[in-house]
Amino acid sequence: QPTLPLVINTWPFRSATQAAWNVLAAGRSALDAVERGCTQCEIDQCDGSVGYGGSPDESGETTLDAMIMDGSTMKAGAVANLRRIKNAIGVARAVMEHTKHTFLVGESASLFAESMGFVCEDLTTNRSLSIYSKWLEQHCQPNFRTNVTPDPEKSCGPYKPLKELKNGKPPSLQKAVDVHSHD
């Protein structure tokens, strides 16, 4: 039994695996396969942690991060904090293939994507709005701020830095675990 080709991905995102396999089975490249597989997850909004309408930030906006790497040429492309564009892995590939850079971020990455022909659309959904509303109702908990006032474990912002760090130390590396919110 041959051991290649192969697709492996994190989490039980079967439709993404299937989509990538279909590309390899058609004789196309590994790069095409991972782009297609990750795109499928973006379309499916895999477990809410991929694609539009998930993981709203403190202001309720969904932004996307993606990266693609070709292990044969060591070329890579990446985008982060991408706004208003659903196909983040596609934009990452465009960075790889249509620039001499590696990593574009934020509003500028979105403008690049638009110039490359990607559709600009709202990434907000009723689900992401609901997650955001619930977070506001829970006094902005959980919260990633620390050493600020008002106390981020009890209150929403706006926040100002404390004059001195609590206990005189920066935050511990040890963090609370939320297995439903993952990168």
Partner: protein, 141 residues
């Protein structure tokens, strides 16, 4: 987040990641997923790796690059993944994270760090001889 490794029939390796990040993050925050060597890494002379979990922690240790280098030095994919997780646990004993690894010949494995509510990691594989994706699970370290 999805992290994916693809290896074609000639052993060419590619990796990709896509995510909307952590819920309720501070605007502007970026995790490990789009960072090369953190969220994923590929080298067709060795193999590939892709990570998932708490990106704020994982991105400080470049676990995907570490795992590929472990394979370059002779580790099988499972052991390479385990060593990358163990390296983070030396500094952060309880963290939420997992990694999948595959080498250029089609062997693969995974590892994860045990954390409250996270004792097993599920991942998915498609390989020759299968008619549909294979669900795999690994116990966390």
């Amino acid at each position: 987040t999805i992290g994916m490794i693809g290896v074609d029939k000639n052993g060419n390796v590619a990796t990709g990641t896509s995510t909307n990040g952590a819920s309720h993050k501070i605007p502007g925050r970026v995790g490990d997923s789009p960072v090369i060597g953190a969220g994923a890494y590929a080298d067709s002379s060795v193999g590939g790796a892709a990570a998932t979990g708490d990106g704020d922690t994982m991105m400080r240790f470049l676990p995907s690059y570490q795992a590929v280098e472990n394979m370059r030095m002779g580790a099988d994919p499972t052991s390479a993944c385990q060593k990358a997780i163990a390296r983070i646990q030396k500094h952060v004993p309880v963290f939420f994270g997992a990694i999948v690894c595959a080498n250029k010949t089609g062997s693969y494995g995974a590892a994860c760090g045990k954390a409250p509510g996270f004792s097993q990691f599920h991942y998915t594989v498609f390989k020759p001889g299968r008619s549909q994706p294979l669900d795999e699970v690994v116990d966390c370290l």
